[in-house]
């Protein structure tokens, strides 16, 4: 194994890594922001009457009951900020980082589920099934 072969192989590896990195950071995903009553792991989360969701630097979207909107983002990890008013009329602001799995082109972000347990994305990030389209 000469120096040359080493250099060549490593160069190849670097390029492949670069390509893969590009693939990851350049990949486009669409997050479906969902304000519907959902049942996750046997537990039901009621939809909110009115909620404001902001993804990264994009301008925030307002969702009413059974409303759905889409945020198109590139890359995997994103900041989501949800603003809503609870029963006691005090405004609550939740902000979390979410990580979209690489292979998912579309993913559903359920606001109600998120509000209940914002620190476990297995609740509020769910794969997008065509059946749930159109309410």
């Amino acid at each position: 194994m000469t120096r040359r072969t080493i250099v060549r192989i490593s160069a190849l590896v670097v390029i492949l890594l670069l390509a893969f990195a590009m693939l990851r950071i350049g990949r486009q995903h669409s997050i479906l922001l969902d304000d519907k009553t959902v049942t996750v792991q046997g537990q039901e989360y009621k939809a909110l009457d009115m909620v404001e969701v902001k993804v990264d630097k994009q301008d925030s979207v307002e969702l009413v009951k059974r409303d759905r909107d889409v945020a198109v983002v590139t890359g995997q990890s994103h900041k989501i900020k949800v603003t809503y008013t609870d029963a006691q009329w005090n405004e609550i602001e939740l902000e979390r980082k979410i990580k979209i799995p690489f292979d998912k082109e579309m993913i559903v972000f359920s606001v109600p589920a998120f509000i209940e347990n914002p620190d476990d994305d297995t609740y509020y990030l769910m794969p997008f099934e065509t059946t749930s389209v159109g309410n």
């Binding site: 390509a19 590009m22 350049g26 990949r27 486009q28």
Partner: protein, 370 residues
């Protein structure tokens, strides 16, 4: 006195095409009635769009293989790469980088094939590479129109033809549209300059300048001058020629990616067909010939050729009230230019052959006098 006249005539003769174009533009610009700002803006766009592609022609010329009509192969490689990238819904600069990386293997394969074939057709490289362009276009269609879908999976339905396989006639590159051009954008008196793109082009120029200084570059220049002498000196002639074509193809691949990011849409089955012709016409207009070309030729060429291209429809309209005429005119000129420069090149070769005879004749006169 006589000498200066001679040299002047030679100069004129050797730059006939360029001079012609300056004249055409000189007439065309006022006729078109475009504002200087508009024209400058357009030209800047054209330079950023085309010059990289044209740069890819320099290396084969250096290696004495003439105008590489086979650069279309590179264009195809670039397009295939972009199709994949779009299918994977990658966007922005990353998409472009990825496309470039992806295009390389295709370019290398196609380039090697092309080079190998050209080695079998020494002395008529140009017409052969030109036919290779057509031939590979067939292979490309086979690949994109039939293999993509059944054999190579394409997820993105927006790309695939309604019938369920094969790529649509136009692919929307909205994801990467102008992503490089707009990366660093400077507006100078209402003219926006895509600095980033120009930087990339500059890098390409630097590469070519540096490449000329390498051993390989030297070998290519040697091979370009005389196959016999070079191989006698132990230079791997055939290999060198293949490498030159491969390099040109790879560059053309990158060039195509750059070109299409500016265009924003890919005409799957047409984008590459014209590219070769326009690029070659441009470099010839810039004062290059079949056996010598330089970086200035490239840029002068882009400017003059595309000036003509922009103004002629409008000029035609204002001249005879038919824009269509201008359209045809520029097509005619593009082909005419190539024809003319090929003819001039062949004739120059002949002239040089005759010089020695004249020498002898004068010498003989010498004998007769004494």
């Amino acid at each position: 006195m006589k000498i200066t006249k001679e040299t002047f005539i030679k100069l004129f003769r050797n730059n006939l095409v360029t001079v012609m174009f300056v004249i055409i533009c000189a007439f065309g610009i006022p006729l078109s009635g475009y504002s200087a700002n508009y024209l400058i803006g357009e030209i800047i766009v054209r330079i950023s769009r085309n010059s990289f592609l044209i740069l890819s022609l320099l290396i084969p010329i250096m290696a004495g293989m003439g105008l590489n009509f086979g650069m279309t192969l590179g264009a195809m490689a670039g397009e295939i790469a972009l199709i994949f990238v779009t299918d994977w819904s990658v966007v922005g600069i990353p998409a472009m980088v990825l496309a470039c990386i992806l295009s390389v293997p295709f370019s290398i394969i196609l380039g090697t094939i092309c080079g190998r074939i050209l080695n079998k057709a020494k002395g008529r490289e140009m017409v052969t590479s030109y036919i290779i362009g057509f031939f590979m276009n067939g292979v490309y269609q086979l690949f994109v129109l039939y293999a993509m879908g059944p054999i190579i999976p394409i997820k993105n339905k927006a790309l695939v033809l309604p019938r369920g396989y094969g790529i649509r006639n136009t692919v929307n590159l909205i994801g990467i549209r102008r992503s490089l051009d707009d990366l660093i954008k400077v507006r100078i008196s209402g003219v926006s300059v895509p600095v980033a793109t120009f930087l990339v082009i500059a890098v390409a120029c630097v590469f070519i300048v540096w490449f000329r200084k390498t051993k390989l570059g030297q070998d290519m220049r040697a091979v370009g001058q005389d196959l016999e002498v070079s191989s006698a000196a132990g230079i791997k002639v055939e290999n060198t020629r293949v490498v030159s074509i491969v390099l040109s193809t790879v560059l053309a691949g990158f060039g195509m990616v750059l070109y299409l990011q500016n265009m924003g849409t890919l005409n799957t089955y047409n984008s590459h067909t014209q590219i070769g012709m326009f690029s070659i016409a441009a470099i010839l207009v810039g004062g290059a010939s079949v056996n010598k070309a330089s970086i200035p030729n490239v840029f002068l060429g882009v400017i003059l050729f595309h000036l003509m291209f922009i103004v002629s429809p409008m000029a035609g309209k204002n001249l005879i009230g038919q824009a269509q005429l201008g359209e045809y005119f520029r097509v005619f000129v593009s082909y005419g230019v190539i024809t003319l420069s090929l003819v001039l090149y062949e004739m120059r070769k002949k002239r040089e052959a005759n010089d020695s005879a004249q020498l002898l004749e004068t010498e003989q006169e010498g004998y007769n006098n004494d």
